[in-house]
């Protein structure tokens, strides 16, 4: 089964994304911060990581760079409240970002991305 890691501090978005991922027949690990990640989780190669960029103690750009560095993954999608064009450009400048969704988000777009990958 394909694996997705969802990292969102906002519990409601986290639960909705977890549900969306599960219904698309992925196995989902949903966490509110990187600290919740176990050693086994870190050894996974995730098909998708869907993450926010606002976390305590780390700048958004550093967070993205850290995720890219420490977690094996195929696609990194950003879903964030801090979705200004400037931030988007800076995040994309780091390269390796598959998608950037600024809140308010159309969940159908993420749904379509997951479905397309599954086919």
């Amino acid at each position: 089964m394909k694996k997705v890691l969802v990292i969102q501090e906002d519990l409601i978005i986290l639960k909705i994304l977890e549900r969306l991922v599960n219904l698309n027949n992925y196995s989902c690990k949903a966490i509110r911060s990187l600290n919740e990640l176990s050693i086994e989780d870190q050894q996974n190669n995730f098909d998708f990581i869907i993450s926010d960029i606002l976390f305590e103690g780390i700048a958004p750009l550093q967070f993205v760079a850290q995720v890219q560095e420490i977690l094996l993954h195929k696609n990194l999608l950003i879903v964030t409240n801090m979705g200004q064009d400037k931030i988007k450009q800076e995040i994309f400048a780091l390269s390796g970002i598959a998608g950037f969704y600024a809140v308010p988000i159309d969940l159908d777009e993420i749904d379509a991305t997951l479905k397309a990958y599954n086919e």
Binding site: I12, I16, R19, V103, P104, I105, D106
Partner: protein
């Protein structure tokens, strides 16, 4: 002051101190219980919403099940604090989502508590309750209360009128520009930002008719609002309005015009117009901002820069010197400095 009076005063003060201790104890105890309760409500709500939006065909959740669970965690008419917290969660969720799920959410909100709580707040004498009520109405898109909300658009309390004005944009969209520039009171920066964002999120298709009609306004806040709208929607056809205000007599209007023009790449003719207007801007800090824009968006126009290099402001001269120095005109800068300080040699670069 004798001993008896002092003893009495001491007793009163001791009682007061004990009252404070009790208040601290109660406050801490209440906070602990409350935080636990709020966490339960948030978790339950998150679970219910996610299951409702992405209903599992094998284990579907019904509205009655949702209502039962909400009741179980304390969402009852008598418990106003819990209901208020639920409303804040509902608003938070709704603001996070657009598209088909937004419509689904609205449908859900129509079938779960709290029924009619927000409209009841509008009649309150307390500005805080009133403003909160209006906010809840527009955030939850209860457009049938539009007439009640509109009455407050010129209220004397800034929060009440602000929320009413935002509600107007949420419900009327571009047509609200009929009223906005002519409001009695000033509009804060946050109000302008919020209005532009609501317009952008809810009415992404611009209706220029209303925008152009609003150009007639001479109110400072309205001019700034209109320029922000042009910027957010990237309305290239309307940049004349921004350019016209680069030299406005109001500092804030100029500031907004310079900020907004930065979003656009303009034609050569427009750039010539901007350069011609440059000297009419009275603030050197604003001239510097515009100078950066001109530099980043046009070819090096040596005569224009030289004119500024020999101008009166030191900061502008430095900025121009840097531009010319880094863009193949070192000699012009050296000539300038030799002319200014004939006895010194340059150590640049």
């Amino acid at each position: 002051m004798n001993e008896v009076t002092l003893l009495l005063l001491i007793k009163i003060l001791l009682v007061l101190l004990v009252v404070y201790w009790i208040a601290i104890g109660i406050s801490m105890f209440y906070r602990r219980i409350r935080m636990r309760r709020l966490a339960i409500i948030e978790e339950t709500f998150a679970d219910l919403v996610s299951r409702y939006l992405y209903n599992d065909p094998e284990n579907p959740i019904s509205i009655s099940q949702i209502n039962d669970r909400l009741k179980k965690i304390g969402i009852r008419p008598g418990n106003r604090n819990n209901i208020q917290y639920l409303i804040s969660l509902m608003i938070r969720t709704q603001r996070t989502i657009i598209g088909s799920n937004f419509i689904k959410l609205q449908k859900l909100y129509g079938m779960i508590p709290p029924y009619g709580v927000s409209i009841a707040k509008i009649g309150s004498w307390n500005w805080y309750r009133q403003a909160r009520g209006i906010r809840e109405i527009y955030e939850m898109n209860q457009s049938h209360y539009l007439d009640e909300v509109l009455k407050y658009r010129n209220d004397k309390n800034i929060y009440v009128r602000r929320e009413a004005q935002i509600a107007m944009v949420v419900f009327l969209g571009w047509e609200s520009l009929r009223f906005l520039p002519y409001l009695k009171w000033n509009m804060t920066l946050w109000q302008q930002i919020k209005i532009v964002e609501k317009l952008y999120d809810l009415y992404p298709q611009p209706d220029l008719k209303w925008l152009q009609k609003a150009y007639e306004t001479d109110r400072s806040f309205a001019k700034r609002l209109l320029m922000r709208i042009i910027r957010k929607f990237e309305l290239h056809s309307e940049i004349d309005y921004i350019m016209k205000h680069l030299t406005d007599e109001d500092y804030e209007v100029r500031e907004t015009a310079i900020y907004c023009i930065k979003t656009f790449a303009v034609s050569r003719a427009d750039m010539s117009f901007i350069k011609a207007e440059f000297d009419k801007i009275p603030e050197p800090t604003q001239q510097l901002q515009l100078m950066n824009y001109i530099f980043e968006n046009s070819d090096i126009d040596v005569p224009f820069y030289l004119e500024q290099l020999y101008g009166p402001n030191e900061d502008i001269r430095l900025s121009v010197a840097e531009i010319l120095w880094n863009n193949g005109h070192k000699q012009k800068v050296q000539e300038f400095y030799l002319q200014q300080y004939p006895n010194t040699s340059m150590h640049v670069g």
